[in-house]
């Protein structure tokens, strides 16, 4: 049997996985610390993609311009996230889950139309900068430079998050906040800033992954609905609230999807959905999740 | 004395933390058994294992010889368990009447009744139950507006609504004033003695424990220290040692 497709699909799967991890980690982090499922995460992803499309046009097709656009787009989404948290999301802490879910859901509706208002309904075209358009061969697979960038950033985020959570003071506070918010309040730590910060970080990650994906996917209103389902599948498989679980979920998704796309392109979505169903049946809290759902 | 429930080698580990290690004892039928021990001894874990909220890491629980170790809570309740919680668990938004009625509707075929009005069921039984627990005046009050003591009475009434074989009370006297405690203890003992219900409860109030318990089980750091008749436990040196240094029981006359 000709296995030459394997390395190519693995690369493709890894790329998808690492980029999706960047997005999903934000979702998982927000849930882990604040207990809120951010439905608008897909919208923030979309915002990142659209911002990059415009900024890339503005800042030129050079490598530096592109990187600057990536940076600005991600930070912008992070700031928007912080604002959302400060003024809106924070009003929901302690309220019934029903209301929390309905509210972040209403944000999706608003953000979707905001994007339409600013950018219109047409697809945005995003060109990869010349510097990153090339490719090279590795172990029988063609790796594009852009793939490498995505995988690289993905790994950087994995390491960065690990370092942040396990090796810094702030990270300790974040982990403590996810365990017991009341206790932290009693200790006098400023929980509000942690909450805003975590949401901003989550939004930043969503925006970053959206910006990174922009040259590869169709940047069009409606991409928020697509991505949020994918994110849900990933966190259900991996376990919501656990970053290690999110990484595992992303890898499972990425690899399964890319291999299925090779053989049965139409069925790819259903294969991952089936994986989700299997996980739910055998291990409802996700592969590495805490027993919350 | 026949044993209603037998517990064998029960252990529970939570990702590395051994909450309970190899606990085994028997709960005699028709008697009052108390589980005591310092904070962190594993009393709640034991309770949750017996009532089915948790599944043990190892060990077995038997109800009249039948293995119920992995039976889900609702099935155990249908086998004759009734339970109250440390943090009073009733339907706050419903009236007392509705609370009691819901308790009676929960088991049996009424669950799948879709057409008849619920208020047509159990009206007289609800009233009888309410009067047994001195809640007749409160029947139309919203549960969450009642005093803490009254809510605990309601919860107790709900737990016995289906005439269970065994009643499990988790810190039934928590947060009660001395007066409320007296009333509550009298009500509980009355209820179980009259109906031959087996009672298992955990408590911090040692005086009450020695006053009403037939059998006492002592836990410390997840292990069984001693179990047996109250008088025997009172004189047990190990039990005294465990409680030495626990400021809330040091001066307790019950242990002198």
């Amino acid at each position: 049997m000709d296995l030459s497709f394997v390395p190519a699909q693995l690369v493709s799967g890894l790329t998808t996985a690492m980029t999706l991890f960047v997005t999903a980690s934000g979702l998982s982090l927000i849930f882990g610390v604040m207990g809120i499922l951010n439905f608008a995460h897909g919208s923030l992803f979309m915002l990142g993609a659209f911002l990059l499309a415009s900024l890339a046009r503005l800042l030129g097709a050079s490598g530096i311009g592109f990187v600057a656009a990536l940076f600005i787009a991600s930070v912008a989404v992070g700031v928007i996230g912080a604002a959302l948290e400060r003024w809106l999301i924070s009003r929901l802490y302690g309220k019934e889950e029903l209301f929390q879910l309905l509210f972040t859901y209403s944000l999706v509706l608003v953000l979707a139309d905001c994007v339409r208002m600013v950018w219109g309904v047409n697809q945005q075209s995003v060109m990869r900068p010349a510097m990153l358009s090339g490719s090279f061969e590795l172990a029988g697979a063609t790796l594009s430079h852009y793939n490498l960038l995505l995988i690289g950033v993905g790994f950087a985020i994995v390491l960065g998050l690990w370092f942040l959570l396990h090796r810094t003071r702030i990270g300790e506070l974040i982990r403590a906040a996810s365990q017991d918010r009341e206790m932290l309040l009693m200790l006098g730590k400023n929980v509000r800033w942690i909450q805003t910060g975590v949401f901003a970080l989550g939004a930043f990650l969503a925006g970053l992954s959206g910006a990174l994906m922009a040259p590869l996917v169709s940047v069009v209103p409606g991409m928020d609905s697509e991505i949020i389902i994918v994110l849900f599948i990933i966190v259900v498989i991996g376990g919501l609230g656990s970053l290690a679980g999110t990484l595992v979920g992303s890898l499972v998704y990425g690899v399964a999807y890319s291999f299925t796309v090779y053989f049965f392109p139409q069925l790819a979505l259903f294969v991952v959905a089936a994986l989700m169903v299997i996980t739910l049946t055998l291990r409802p809290q996700g592969l590495l999740g805490r027993r919350i759902g | 004395m026949s044993m209603l429930i037998e517990i064998e080698g029960l252990s529970k580990t939570f990702s590395g933390f051994k909450a309970l290690s190899d606990v085994g004892f028997a709960i005699p039928e028709g008697k009052i058994t108390a589980v005591i021990g310092p904070n962190g001894a594993g009393k709640s874990t034991l309770f949750n294992l017996i009532t089915g909220k948790l599944v043990p890491t190892s060990g077995a629980i038997r109800l009249r010889g039948r293995d119920i170790t992995t039976l889900p809570p609702e099935a155990r309740v249908r086998s004759g368990f009734g339970r109250t919680f440390q943090r009073t668990s009733v339907f706050g938004e419903m009236s007392v009447r509705e609370n009691l009625r819901t308790a009676m509707l929960c088991q049996g075929r009424h669950v799948w009744s879709f057409w008849r009005v619920a208020t047509a069921f159990f009206e007289s039984d609800v009233q009888a139950l309410a009067s047994r627990f001195e809640l007749s005046d409160a029947l139309d009050l919203q549960a969450k507006t009642m005093s803490h003591g009254d809510q605990k009475q309601l919860e107790l009434a709900m737990a016995v609504a289906q005439t269970p074989k065994v009643l499990l009370l988790d810190e039934p006297l928590a947060g009660m004033s001395p007066v409320e405690t007296r009333t509550a203890v009298a009500a509980i003992v009355d209820e179980v003695r009259q109906r031959g219900i087996t009672l298992l409860f955990t408590e911090h109030d040692i005086d009450v424990v020695f006053e009403i318990a037939d059998v006492i089980v002592v836990l410390d750091k997840g292990r069984l220290i001693a179990s047996g008749p109250a008088a025997q436990i009172r004189a047990d040196a190990r039990v005294q040692a465990v409680y030495l240094g626990q400021s809330d029981t040091l001066e307790s006359p019950a242990l002198q």
Binding site: S225, I229, V236, F270 | T51, M94, T119
Partner: protein, 334 residues
């Protein structure tokens, strides 16, 4: 108080509905049928959300499956309104059972995620399966239900009355259901699921039955919708359809049986007028939904309740009744 609000809502809506049926022009009959169908959809969703505390974001799936089931049956096999609708409902109920089994055992958050994920999967199938569903283009030209010229009424008038009568029938069914032992337990499971569990009832089982009932009723609405629009499009299955129903539930009031009906009428009315002004209807409903959640979660019906309470308090104070007594009266559960 609760039953008084219910009565108040009925007093407002019922005469309007009758008026449309008897005197309404073509336009009004069309609008009326649409309101009745959406009200049916929203009421079925509220059985889960408001009554059962189960936040389903994937209710559009059952609406759409009802539509496709009825529509395809009518077109492929040439059957009439009633059998087609039954097929649509059956299909919706079947999927509600299958998906429900995987969803109901979860925490609220997982339940929300999963219902949405499954719903989008169904949409994806309809979107791609060109042969069966017409793909992304959909199918046009569903035959209009014929009623001859019975009673001298047009087909349109007949269709409106059928939708209205079905809505009333379903409302009555749900009214009985809410007051039945099953309904009491479903509601109890919303208030305190652990207590229900420790009284001996399997909460997932009760919720699953509710989920299937809600799915079947959404399927009924969907079937009628297919005949109403005489077409089938994948966006009937898209999650935003469920979002619109959710908006109606929250706007009208999720604590009342008739709340979603009021919400449907209001939202569709505003929609008609507003789309002339703005194409950003999504944002408007999003802002409205968000504001309601934050400041008035009881919706319009809740506002009505507060109004009635304030009036009652004022009147009582005038009459000399002591306020604490009145507060106790108001606190009594309904």
């Amino acid at each position: 108080m609760k039953s008084q609000i219910e009565a108040a809502l009925a007093l407002i809506l019922f005469p309007l509905a009758l008026g449309i049926g008897i005197f309404g022009s073509r336009l009004w009959l069309n609008f009326g049928a649409e309101v009745a169908i959406w009200a049916l959809f929203a009421v079925s969703l509220n059985l889960l959300v408001g009554f059962g505390g189960m936040v389903s974001f994937g209710h559009a799936a059952y609406f759409g499956l009802g539509a496709y089931g009825a529509g395809l049956a009518a077109m492929r096999w040439g059957i009439g309104l009633v059998p087609a609708t039954l097929i649509g409902m059956g299909l919706a109920a079947l999927f509600a059972l299958l998906f429900g089994m995987l969803c109901v055992r979860r925490s609220k958050v997982y339940f929300a995620m999963l219902t949405l994920a499954f719903s989008q999967l169904v949409w994806a199938v309809a979107f791609r399966w060109n042969d069966l569903s017409g793909g992304d283009q959909g199918i046009n030209g569903l035959p209009m239900p014929q009623f001859g010229n019975l009673l001298g009424w047009t087909n349109q008038r007949w269709f409106y009355w059928i939708c209205f009568v079905l809505l009333c029938a379903v409302l009555y069914l749900l009214y009985r259901l809410a007051r039945s032992p099953f309904g009491t337990l479903l509601n109890a499971a919303k208030l305190n699921p652990e207590r229900v569990q420790f009284l001996g009832t399997s909460v997932p089982r009760v919720q699953l039955v509710a989920f299937v009932i809600a799915g079947a009723l959404a399927g009924l609405a969907g079937s009628l919708f297919a005949f109403h629009t005489r077409g089938l499009f994948p966006d009937y299955l898209f999650w935003t359809k469920g979002a619109e129903a959710l908006n109606m539930v929250v706007l009208g009031g999720m604590n009342q049986l008739l709340g979603p009906v009021l919400g449907a009428a209001t939202l569709l009315f505003i929609n008609q007028e507003a789309t002339a002004f703005t194409e950003y209807w999504s944002a408007v409903t999003g802002v409205m939904l968000g504001a309601l959640i934050l400041f008035a979660p009881g919706g319009l019906a809740g506002g009505l309740q507060r109004l009635l309470e304030a009036v009652t308090r004022k009147r009582a104070r005038k009459a000399g009744q002591s306020v604490p007594d009145l507060e106790a009266d108001l606190r009594r559960p309904q």
